[in-house]
Amino acid sequence: MKEPDNTERDDGELAKRARQLFDESVQELDAETLSRLNRSRQRALAHAKGSGAQAAWLRWTPVAAAAVAAAAVVIVLNPGNGVDELPRTTASDLELLLAEEELEMLEDLEFYRWMALEETAEATGQDDHVG
């Protein structure tokens, strides 16, 4: 039972050494790169301001929501209309958020083909290691 302990310790040491080297490489980033990162961040913040302005119109959403709710009440009270999927949980919100990123990938089937090849290669590699 000693060998697994050694392996685990080696894995821990490897991870620690890798982390240390990575941290050092982060610290060694040159001034030009840091400057470019700073400019990228400023651009991103400008977009956030843009979305803030966009959010301003969202202040009208309570009014719109009230109108939609009123319409929904009319629809629900109207017999024969099976509106039973109106509530949206926060859990589905999470799924929606994550799905939003996935949708972009779905746009390109070529990407999925490539991912499938990756998975196959990975599975093959694993078979080689398990022994």
């Binding site: 040491e13 890798a18 990575f22 060694e28 990228s40 991103a44 913040l45 979305s51 926060t90």
Partner: protein, 202 residues
């Protein structure tokens, strides 16, 4: 669902901020991006082996986070940001694979960038001898080559868990897979790295 994912979901309602609150939110976003940008760049750079490309990917991830998710709870930003970043990296690999295929069709070399040196332009850090610096850089280059040889998802799991320090749940959200998959990918990555790097590397 994990506790992390549950808290993520509970606080996922969209908020809008105005005035002082908007300014505070912008400052928080600035601090977050400032805190994450250097590590994100290196993680992207290890994946694509090109600093300029990595800078573009990080910039796109920053802009996307700011544009679409700035109103989200602050503790959601890290997994969201890395999710966007990983998608950017995957998209880059897809484009490159397509480009190589097109170039091969026309009978020209695909322009493999594996010979680029992402740390060669790094400035000298203080407090170490040139020999020590050289050894560290060589070790990092060796590690980068080993990481580049890993399957994509193993590399992602290793870098997000080890380099960025995300927990299993956060890594799962960033990678868009289950926590079980993260553990498997990470374990395989460490195993493969140990095999390829050998004892002398450590």
């Amino acid at each position: 669902m994990s506790a992390f994912a549950a808290s993520f979901a509970v606080s996922s309602a969209h908020n809008s901020y105005t005035g002082a609150a908007a300014l505070q939110r912008e400052q928080e976003l600035n601090r977050f991006l400032q805190d994450v940008e250097k590590r994100a760049l290196r993680i992207a750079e290890v994946s694509v082996r090109d600093r300029d490309e990595a800078l573009d990917i990080v910039q796109e991830a920053m802009i996307k986070l700011a544009r679409k998710y700035a109103m989200r709870a602050v503790d959601e930003w890290t997994p969201l940001f890395y999710r966007i970043l990983q998608n950017g990296v995957r998209d880059w690999h897809r484009r490159r694979a397509l480009r190589n295929r097109v170039m091969a069709w026309f009978g020209t070399p695909g322009g493999d960038d594996d010979d680029c040196d992402p740390v060669a332009a790094a400035a000298d850090p203080a407090g170490r001898t040139p020999d020590e610096q050289l050894q560290q850089r060589e070790a990092m280059k060796t590690l980068e080559r080993a990481l580049a040889a890993l399957p994509l998802r193993q590399r992602e799991a290793f870098m997000l868990r080890n380099f960025e320090g995300l927990d299993v749940a956060g890594t799962a959200l960033a990678m868009g897979c289950s926590t079980g998959s993260v553990k498997t990918h990470y374990s395989r990555a460490v195993h493969s790295l140990r095999e390829s790097l050998g004892e002398h590397w450590q």
